[in-house]
């Protein structure tokens, strides 16, 4: 299994500012994924991050708004640029081991933009 630690657990930021969310895995993983969940809604895949390459973004998400870094096999950072109240949601990082189909999630970061 993989344990994923996210920091911060929650944050409140002003509109127009940027926020970084960190995800650390307790072992090396090939891919890390970032999901967004609005309150009482489903999880939407934002992007896939592999080491040493640019993240691949899903429709509706851009690297200008949500830049993602993946400097090594245990770490990823999601940044929310020019935050707006509509970005208020929970952000989850996710991953799996190299040979397993089981998917693991961090505990999430609850972001409120005021």
């Amino acid at each position: 299994s993989v344990l994923l630690y996210q920091k911060p657990n929650r944050d409140i930021c002003q509109s127009g500012t940027s926020l970084k969310i960190q995800c650390v895995a307790d072992s090396q993983v090939v891919s890390m994924f970032w999901y967004q969940q609005f309150q009482e809604q489903s999880l939407m895949l934002m992007a896939t991050a592999n080491e040493g390459s640019e993240a691949t973004y899903e429709s509706g998400f851009t690297k200008d708004k949500f830049p993602i870094s993946r400097p090594n096999l245990t770490f990823s950072t999601l940044t929310v640029n020019n935050a707006r109240p509509g970005d208020s949601s929970i952000y989850f990082c996710s991953s799996s081991t190299g040979t397993s189909t089981e998917v693991f999630f961090g505990k999430g970061t609850r972001l409120t933009v005021v």
Binding site: S31, L43, V103, R110
Partner: protein, 115 residues
């Protein structure tokens, strides 16, 4: 493209009653299927998963699910629910393995168990 549908947004059952949460998927091949539970203000916990083999899979906390290829379904069941089962349940699908497991989630079903 793949999709997951959970037709019941909310389900309310009495404690001790049986439970079925429905999940239908759309995918051209046999997918990897998961059920996750999310308790209030918490992350996702894996209940069970199906990859292949026996279509009935057992999970944690006495949950089980049955895969049906003919019906494109993966319904979650429990024989007797407890009030602590109240949570949001998500069905999810993955197409790939080898560390690149992107998930497509259903809309979620809010389960309320009445004591």
């Amino acid at each position: 493209a793949q999709s997951v549908t959970q037709p019941d947004a909310r389900v309310t059952v009495s404690e001790g009653a049986s439970l079925q949460l429905r999940c239908k998927y759309s995918y051209s091949a046999t997918p990897y299927l998961f059920w996750y539970v999310q308790y209030p203000r918490q992350g996702l916990q894996l209940l069970l998963k199906y990859y292949s083999g026996d279509p009935v899979v057992q999970g944690v906390n006495s949950f089980e699910a049955e895969f049906s290829k003919s019906n494109s379904s993966f319904h979650l069941q429990k024989a007797s629910v407890h009030w602590s089962d109240s949570a949001v349940y998500f069905c999810a699908l993955s197409m790939a393995t080898g560390g690149n497991n992107k998930l497509t989630f259903g809309q979620g079903t809010v389960l309320s168990v009445i004591p």
